[in-house]
């Protein structure tokens, strides 16, 4: 090869700075040449006809029309992927997680921000070294609700539920449609998505997490009137800024991926007595039940169900005489197991099952649009009791045995009491309209129950949080569980006379609900009303 080898020259040209521009010119020239050939072919086509096509004048080539229509249809459908693929959220998600082409615009979509109700940024996209990365300023605090969007691990939470909007594919105003068209035509390198506002309140969420501290548990705070969720805290959590494969490898210690607030199922313990009290009120229960210190059982073969007072007296070395005859209100305020176990057995398993259905147990309720399991709420599980299993029914009636519920669902129950019996579907997106979840009880029942719950705080097991500043109504719970110390529960609402907020607090293995969960709920409610979180 000589020194003026054209290939060598070409090689050095490719290496030079002019190549990108030249490449563009060549690319355009290729198209131009193809179009010129097309145009000339078309011209010759009109001038020449295949020889001997004599008398073809009357023959209309309708097969050509059919073919052209078929090709046009295919091209049109192709365009719906190739040019407007942004409108197919699952397609964009596929590309973001599975397409390795560097120049795929799906990787450069500047997703919209996710904001809390005060406009604080919970998630945003930043360009770092040519690639767009998702940044979560609060780290683990909102990990479960906001979720994450990662090319390797996919998307969950609000990131998954509002994927299309965040990617900019569902413009809501005429101007944003115009912007999308411009991005399409100019083949912009950075399509920009739209922001998403959540109902969460970052101040309250951080407060709830701070109160939980190192303990495992969940806190839910929502507005009874419209179901807007202000706090959906769960602990422990993971950091969405630093996802790694080890997070997804089998059940990690502490299971940080589990959204305890919406998917965690726990024995509700005494807070379930709200459900049983509602059942009793609607069945017209009045009068008293005898609640001796010896407890209650359905058969001698089973140990009797006793009250907490019996055990605490025993621990102190004292004798306890028992409650004697209790009416519903006092039994509720004192959280008498013996009373509610008898009550459940008295009305039977069919009534129990009907009540459970009415309170929306055994259901998946969606929290965001979309149907994946990260975006939904497990309400809980009620046992299917055999007719002979009276003891099981007695256990279930005090929220033990095989009864399970999620913290968010228990919050909707407290909210239903506060909202005259009507439970609103918990929702996280501001743009979503409020929707009812179910009429858990009648309005008079709710009113009576609300009074009973207020009494729990003023005179019953919740006395410890009876703050003069704020009238809280609620119910404590201490749920026995096979894995250690009892779970600590508190669910309630405030202010009692004109409820604006409903709350559910769970602390795993926290001990007495009155001493662990209830103070967290009180602090949160006080702070929330201070911040004017009500409707």
């Amino acid at each position: 090869m000589t020194a003026v080898d054209p290939l060598h020259l070409f090689g050095s040209l490719v290496g030079s700075a002019a190549w990108p521009a030249l490449r563009l010119v060549l690319h355009l020239a290729f198209f131009l040449a193809a179009c010129v050939v097309l145009w000339r072919a078309w011209a010759w086509l009109r001038l020449t006809e295949p020889r001997s096509a004599v008398g073809a004048g009357g023959w209309f080539p309708w097969p050509l029309l059919v073919l052209a229509a078929a090709f046009l249809a295919v091209l049109g459908y192709q365009a719906s992927w190739q040019l407007t693929g942004l409108f197919r959220p699952r397609f964009v998600a596929f590309m973001q997680s599975h397409d390795r082409r560097e120049f795929n615009p799906a990787h450069r979509i500047l997703r919209g921000r996710i904001l809390d109700r005060r406009g604080r940024v919970l998630a945003q996209s930043r360009e770092i070294e040519g690639r767009v990365r998702r940044v979560y300023p609060f780290g683990p605090a909102f990990a479960h609700t906001v979720g994450y969007s990662d090319p390797r691990f996919g998307a969950i939470g609000a990131e998954a539920a509002a994927n299309a909007q965040l990617n900019g594919a569902t413009p809501q105003t005429l101007a944003s449609w115009g912007e999308l068209g411009r991005q399409l035509l100019t083949k912009t390198k950075q399509p920009r998505g739209q922001d998403l506002t959540l109902t969460l309140d970052s101040d309250l969420q951080l407060l709830a997490l701070q109160q939980l501290g190192e303990r495992r548990g969940a806190v839910v705070l929502l507005r009874p009137q419209d179901g807007a969720v202000l706090v959906l805290a769960t602990s422990p959590a993971f950091d969405p800024n630093r996802l790694g494969p080890e997070l997804f490898r089998g059940p990690a210690p502490g299971t940080p991926l589990l959204n305890r607030a919406t998917q965690g199922l726990y024995p509700p313990g005494s807070v379930f007595k709200i459900v049983m009290a509602a059942q009793a009120i609607e069945a017209g229960f009045s009068g008293t039940l005898h609640c001796p210190a010896g407890g209650f059982t359905t058969s001698r073969r089973y140990p009797p169900i006793r009250d907490h007072d019996y055990y605490s007296a025993q621990k102190a070395g004292r004798a306890w005489a028992g409650f004697g005859n209790l009416d519903l209100t006092t039994a509720f305020a004192e959280s008498s197991n013996v009373f509610f176990a008898q009550l459940g057995v008295r009305y039977g398993r069919d009534a129990f099952a009907r009540t459970g259905e009415r309170f929306a147990f055994d259901r998946q309720v969606r929290l965001y649009p979309g149907t994946d399991r990260y975006g939904s709420l497990s309400t809980g599980r009620l046992p299917r009791l055999a007719a002979s299993d009276q003891y099981g029914l007695a256990q279930a009636s005090i929220g033990q045995g095989r009864v399970l519920a999620s913290p968010t669902h228990l919050a909707t129950i407290a909210a239903a009491v506060a909202n005259r019996g009507l439970a609103m579907r918990p929702r996280l997106l501001v743009q979503e309209p409020a929707a009812p979840l179910g009429q858990y009880m009648t309005a008079p029942t709710a009113a009576r129950l609300a009074g009973m719950m207020r009494k729990v705080v003023t005179q019953g097991t919740g006395r410890g949080i009876n703050d003069a500043g704020l009238a809280i109504a609620g119910k404590t719970g201490t749920a026995e569980n096979p894995r250690g110390a009892a779970h600590s529960w508190f669910i309630g609402f405030a202010p009692a006379a004109d409820p604006k907020l409903a709350v559910a607090v769970l602390v795993e293995h926290g001990g007495f609900g009155s001493s662990v969960a209830a103070p967290i709920a009180r602090d949160l409610l006080v702070k929330a009303l201070e911040l004017g979180a009500g409707p």
Binding site: F10, H27, A34, V37, T48, L67, E102
Partner: protein
């Protein structure tokens, strides 16, 4: 050939085939630009270029020159746009295959000779059967029919299964030949039996059974064998070609209606029998159900095209290696990725021109056998193209057919060239016609003779006026 007349001398033929020359040169220029783009991308990625890298382009140029010169030398009068369209499509295919690294094995690569061989097949076919000689092929009715069946049987007995279909040794697909032999057999049969087949029951919508049964029996056996082979794409292509030839040979749309109904029924039946087809159907309806399994190929193809956008980044810049079997069935998605939507539109327009020539040949004013053969071959090409493009773009379920002239694959490429050779031969016209074309309407007439259509339109109203004068 007919060198006796001065009008058909080399100089006249040279002048007459100006259109072809111009278009072929255009194709060559376009492909040269494409080659420079690909070589540039290769060099930019660090590959050392050698003189041998220009070999495919040089061979392509030589082949085009060879085709043109032999057609001119033979005084060929057939279609000129058709050759140019074939040249463009195969050149485009060459670029795509080159881009996929098909020729990087060096000058000994067998694939290097494929496109020139294809042009040779086309030219030889066109010249051998020109001037009406293609009608000899009608005599071979039983040869074509028998050959087709034997091919499928032999393939079934000796082939090996791969990805659900049967391939011959070395992964060639000899059944591709069926795309020519079946239209030949169909046209030959319809030329003989067309009259009888057109005589339907006077009152009931029933076709004549006696004339129809040999055709039905043959197709039943053929479709059955192809079903055993699970070649759904070939069944569709040949079945539709059969129906179109039948309908155009008899002028009875009823055949088309019955045939499509029967085909729909058969398709539904086959889908319930073969889970292979059912899985493809599921992957088509919802590829996101199993995105990393059944939906992987189609979704990777589509995301490649999405990455290409409106006009792509240029030949050689994409990453088609992420799409499985991109060089064969999914070459269209590579074109969509590197040349964008506009590249696809250009490609489709060239296909449409090719098909429009075929349809024009199937129009009136030609011997019946030629028209039917043109109809059959054109239908095969059209259905094959639509099946491939439709499958890759998720418009229809994937059938695993190749894109004519573009996809990698020797048998498929040569068959497409052979079919275009036959189309060219048909366009040359019937024997016994005067060597000099009738005025004003010659296919390959010299440029001076080329008249726009309005001349003819003007002539039409004049005739009745003249008649009333008399």
């Amino acid at each position: 050939m007919s060198a006796a007349s001065a009008d058909t001398g080399f100089a006249a033929a040279w002048l007459r085939r100006r259109a072809e020359r111009e278009l072929l040169l255009g194709c060559l220029g376009c492909m040269a630009l494409g080659f420079v783009l690909i070589l540039g991308a290769d060099a930019a990625s660090g590959r050392q270029l050698g003189a041998l890298d220009l070999l495919p382009l040089a061979l392509y140029a030589l082949a085009l020159a060879g085709v043109h010169l032999s057609l001119v030398a033979a005084g060929f009068r057939g279609d000129q746009v058709l050759t140019a369209t074939v040249a463009f499509l195969s050149g485009f295919g060459l670029l795509a295959q080159y881009r996929m690294g098909d020729f990087h094995n060096g000058p000994g690569a067998l694939t290097l000779g494929l496109v020139p061989a294809g042009f040779l097949v086309m030219t030889v076919g066109a010249l051998a059967f020109a001037n009406g000689r293609y009608r000899v092929l009608a005599r071979g009715l039983w040869v074509w029919a028998g050959l087709s069946l034997v091919l499928v049987v032999v393939l079934l007995l000796t082939g090996q299964r791969f990805r659900g279909a049967v391939y011959a040794l070395g992964f060639t697909t000899p059944t591709e030949v069926l795309k020519v032999t079946i239209p030949l057999a169909l046209a030959a049969y319809l030329e003989r039996q067309g009259q009888a087949l057109a005589r339907w029951h006077p009152r009931l919508p029933l076709p004549p059974w006696r004339a129809l049964w040999p055709l039905l029996a043959f197709f039943a056996v053929l479709i059955g064998l192809l079903a055993l082979q699970r070649d759904l794409g070939m069944m569709l292509i040949l079945g539709l070609a059969g129906l179109v030839v039948l309908a155009s040979g008899t002028g009875r749309i009823g055949y088309l209606v019955y045939g499509l109904l029967a085909g729909a029924g058969l398709g539904a039946l086959l889908l319930t029998v073969f889970e292979h087809g059912q899985r493809r159907l599921d992957a088509w309806l919802d590829p996101f159900q199993d995105p990393t399994g059944e939906g992987w190929q189609i979704l990777q193809g589509l995301s490649g095209m999405y990455a290409g956008g409106l006009w792509g980044e240029g030949f050689g810049i994409g990453s088609p290696e992420y799409t499985p079997i991109a060089a064969a069935d999914f070459i269209y998605s590579v074109i969509g990725e590197e040349l964008g939507f506009l590249g696809c539109v250009v490609l489709v327009l060239f296909f449409l021109i090719l098909l429009s020539r075929g349809i024009a040949l199937a129009g009136p004013g030609r011997p019946l056998f030629g028209r039917l053969l043109a109809a059959g071959l054109t239908t095969v090409l059209a259905v094959q193209t639509l099946l491939n493009i439709g499958g890759v773009t998720k418009s229809i379920p994937l059938t695993g057919t190749t894109l004519p002239f573009i996809s990698h694959g020797g048998a498929s490429l040569l068959t497409a060239f052979a079919a275009s050779g036959l189309l060219l031969a048909i366009s040359d016209g019937a024997p016994g016609r005067p060597a000099k074309p009738p005025r004003g309407r010659a296919a390959g007439g010299p440029p001076a003779d080329l008249k726009p259509r309005k001349v003819r339109r003007k002539a039409v109203p004049r005739e009745p006026a003249a008649a009333s004068d008399i």
